[in-house]
Symmetry: C2
Subunit: 352 residues, 2 copies
């Protein structure tokens, strides 16, 4: 099916919310025309706007059958359980989807197309299954070839996972496009890949190849573009996902970082024992780990302030800018111009 | 077959040497009784001692048939090509091995048991194939449970890959055993697993699970032991492998590091563009990346001086100790006592 013809029924059972349904939210925000309904029986009858703060009248339905009434042609797994396995209770919906000839789009670590039931069933009925995290074959070990790329490479990094790295990259993309820049968004996770239509799920490749996957992604994205915005993954301080973050940094070898934080967040996702350090320490850590390969600065801060009042958000942004000496904004809530200009100015200085 | 009954014909074609046949060398050094011959036609007629500086009279043969004369009961893939794929020219030897009823032991990323030819052939003839890097199913995302372990956890880290991390861990193990310590060696790569008989190849797991694999390994190794020596992998400054190194640090959460270097090495393996920084910078980098999760110091230096004269080696060790203020030695060439004592003293201070 043509990417733009997709009409998703978005599975987000029990989890549709501002911070708990990342894939659903990303697709609703950036490709709104592709979603026809969200399945979450705990929120049935409401709209996306009411539940997550955007998405307009997109309806939330309570049953699979109610979802079908909105004429989807594909089922999108819109939430990602920690570890990326397939919850047992979703099997019925996936079976129904395939039987109803809905394509299945999934970013789980569990590959639906390889399932002993779903694989053969989909094959028999001619229904495509898209496992977005399935890595390409023959990935290389990274060797630094990416240093030859002429484009300016900017990677979003974060104080935590699920904090706004993909969103910051996409807001930057739109802002830089608005200035006439040829800019590529290089998706590294299931949501980014879904939105952009290509990419590599770097967290799903065998560990020795994270760097090589990141390198290939940047080499591909750089063709014909002036600026490559690489979607960040995880966090250097997240005990579960930090290997991916580190390999993405060393494989993509960005010229600069944009650091994403959430002022209200004190500890790391699912790891309350890890306190998020002050912004200056986070900046120093990122600059320290890339320095032996290629020095690269943090050039801007992207803050996620969705859970703060307007006054508290503006105050948090001013404080972050003050502490770091860097441009800062919430690029969704406010004008992204400060960080768009930071990236554009960095690009001009590097190439001019 | 019982692990101790193995009689390996070691495949190292074209690569048998002090730095180019890591798996072969590790097995020859630490389980010498298990090797009956090495296959490398470019070195045929010599002994292991002559080629790699240890291994005594272990013969190097030029053909598979000459190897069979030494009555092996298993073929060991003794070299690891970058990327871990199977060179086409080895297929004949592997086929011959299976046909001769030799078990096949391999640490490649390419799983020999899954090969369309070798898998069914081995099955039909009842020949076991051991793919050492095949990860266990159901690995968790790491969550820091390892912090509850009572044992002292010490991880070897290095300025580069293939520099002596496994060897340092094994020399430490023997030294600490000699002092009556209950100590476990936790193997994280194919050679360590081969030597110890268990472990997880952390570089072969899906990237999101490197931390979880490392965590499980330490939890298992800690049972009934006072000290866990975790075999390091790669290097924080190796562009290809650094993701694995970082995930291993954050998943195993060592209480202390032993840093491995090679005084004569100036740049990183296969990446001449990455200069190895001074020892103090390497120490600072390792301590910086673990600090947000659990502060841990570098407590000793293990130097690989095999390519230096005795005078130059002693001088390099003295300089490293002086620059860092830490105990230093080459634990293979000289008495490992200085770094054994460093680990034991750290353990006593932590628990006493």
């Amino acid at each position: 099916m043509n990417f733009s013809d997709l009409r998703f029924l978005v599975l987000a059972e029990g989890k549709f919310g501002p911070l708990s349904s990342k894939t659903a939210n990303g697709v609703i925000r950036y490709t709104p025309g592709r979603c026809v309904a969200v399945l979450d029986s705990t929120q049935a009858g409401r709209t996306a706007q009411e539940v997550i703060g955007f998405g307009g009248a997109l309806p939330v339905v309570g049953t699979f059958e109610a979802g079908l009434a909105h004429k989807p042609n594909a089922l999108l797994i819109g939430i990602a359980p920690q570890g990326g396995q397939l919850p047992q209770e979703w099997r019925g919906w996936i079976r129904q989807a395939i039987e109803q000839r809905l394509e299945v789009w999934s970013g789980l670590h569990f590959f639906i197309g390889d399932d002993a039931e779903f694989g053969p069933l989909a094959k028999r009925l001619g229904v495509p299954i898209h496992d977005l995290r399935k890595p390409p074959a023959d990935l290389p070990i990274s060797t630094g070839r990416v240093r030859d790329v002429a484009a300016t490479v900017v990677l979003t990094v974060g104080a935590d996972c699920n904090i706004g790295k993909m969103t910051a990259s996409l807001q930057l993309r739109d802002g830089l496009k608005g200035r006439g820049r040829k800019v590529a968004f290089a998706g590294t996770g299931q949501t980014g890949i879904l939105i952009e239509g290509w990419g590599i799920g770097v967290d799903a490749v065998v560990a020795d190849f994270v760097g090589g996957a990141s390198e290939r992604l940047v080499l591909d994205a750089a063709r014909g573009n002036e600026i490559v915005l690489v979607e960040g993954q995880g966090s250097l301080i997240h005990p579960g996902y930090s290997a991916v973050t580190y390999g993405l940094i060393h494989g993509s070898l960005p010229h600069a970082f944009v650091l994403c934080t959430q002022p209200s967040r004190q500890t790391v996702d699912s790891n309350e024992w890890v306190r998020i350090p002050p912004i200056r320490d986070l900046i120093a850590l990122h600059e320290a780990v890339i320095a032996p390969l290629r020095p690269a600065p943090v050039i801007a801060l992207s803050l996620n302030t969705f859970d703060l009042s307007d006054a508290a958000a503006r105050d948090a942004i001013a404080r972050a800018a003050d502490e770091s000496g860097l441009p800062a904004t919430d690029p969704v809530r406010y004008d992204p111009a400060p960080i768009v200009e930071a990236v554009d100015a960095f690009h001009r200085a590097r190439t001019g």
